[in-house]
Subunit: 131 residues, 4 copies
């Protein structure tokens, strides 16, 4: 997270927004933010969103996610939003999106870049995995 | 790719293997390689595998992928393998996997860490996207 | 569609709602509607939603979809909603959901049973695939 | 299952093959087997494969799956193969495929129609869900 410049913007129960600056050194060959960075930002937002609803002693691990890349990730900065769709005892279903912003005010809603649909698992009985 | 230390190990028509060292600065909070890095390595291997079957003037973009995280990404180094399952005129279906290796010889098959199932799109008519 | 009792409830540009009655002969071993039926309903709703934005001579084919089963599909009837998230020249990104209703008035929003995130391809040059 | 004409062909630990005849009443508008039927067959094969490795008192539920439709599902009959990729205490990762056969001997490997990558959950503590 720190190495990507990701910052926490907003936390609410089951909802987390992260921001991410554009960085030329994190692009793929076409100058867009690499799919791995896009994924990392959305997965992190969703992981924190899931964690915000879990018991204090629990940790969460990503079981699987699907990422849909709708538009090239180009912009001055990005917002990754994670949201809990269904919170269960063991599994949490999450949805994420990444939006691009030009850097000019007013920011508006940005442009939808990518979607994530995933499953997180709550892990309780491994002390070494406590967040 | 370079910033992750990813290196090309093997290229065959429709098949590409990349290697990736463990790096402590690319881990998530539990000391495993971050899901974004795991994804980037598999997506890159699949992208090169798709490109190996495309016409010279084409570029390929990831449309979507699903990643399944089967085991913590811990090890001395990792191999990301990408393979073309079906190559079409517009879309290429790809499969990827990441395996972890302890660093001791003989390497063997390693431990399966993650799977990727994805769709790539061949883009022909945008000169700025030529790989 | 007809063999599942699926009926068209609402069509708007890029949005289609279908309804589906509960049928005991379409359940899996636990008495819930089978995942294949849940998928068929959401895929059909998304397919029609995609078609509603395509040129008259185009047909649409499902390229891939992910289905998340959030709750058992039990109820008196179900609504499958399909929505176009991004409509491109070749590919259309769609999102679907299935909700269960008890059959008592007022219907309300129902209970979320399943989500679909998928990709449709517009096919223009195959006369035999014209919808 | 019965209403689709699905039959059990082979069971081994973690591997199940099902067969499915072509039926004109289960096609979509283009005359191919409907995506819901393709999904149901692969999901069933994967569910049985997961169950083959579970404790006797456990039931399995599909948590999520991704289906990739690689070719039109046309043929005289189809084989859906399900395989356990990773079996855990709570979650089982499965992979499935559907192949089409012309009905003429020798059958060979058939033509790959679709792939499934999914997650099953083992449910132990609900007597009503015992398979």
């Amino acid at each position: 997270m720190a190495s990507l410049g990701i910052a926490l913007e907003r936390v609410a129960p089951g909802e987390v927004d992260l921001t991410l600056p554009f960085r030329a050194d994190l692009t793929q060959q076409h100058g867009f933010l690499h799919a791995g960075v896009v994924t990392a930002a959305m997965d992190s937002a969703c992981g924190y969103a899931a964690l915000s609803l879990m018991e204090p002693e629990a940790a969460d691990l990503s079981v699987e996610f699907k990422v849909q890349l709708l538009a090239p990730a180009c912009g001055a900065w990005f917002r990754a939003a994670g949201r809990v769709v269904r919170s269960g005892r063991t599994l949490t279903v999450v949805a994420g999106e990444l939006r691009a912003f030009s850097g000019e005010e007013p920011a508006g809603d940005g442009d939808l870049v990518a979607l994530l649909a995933g499953t997180m698992m709550s892990v309780r009985d491994r002390p070494s995995l406590r967040d």
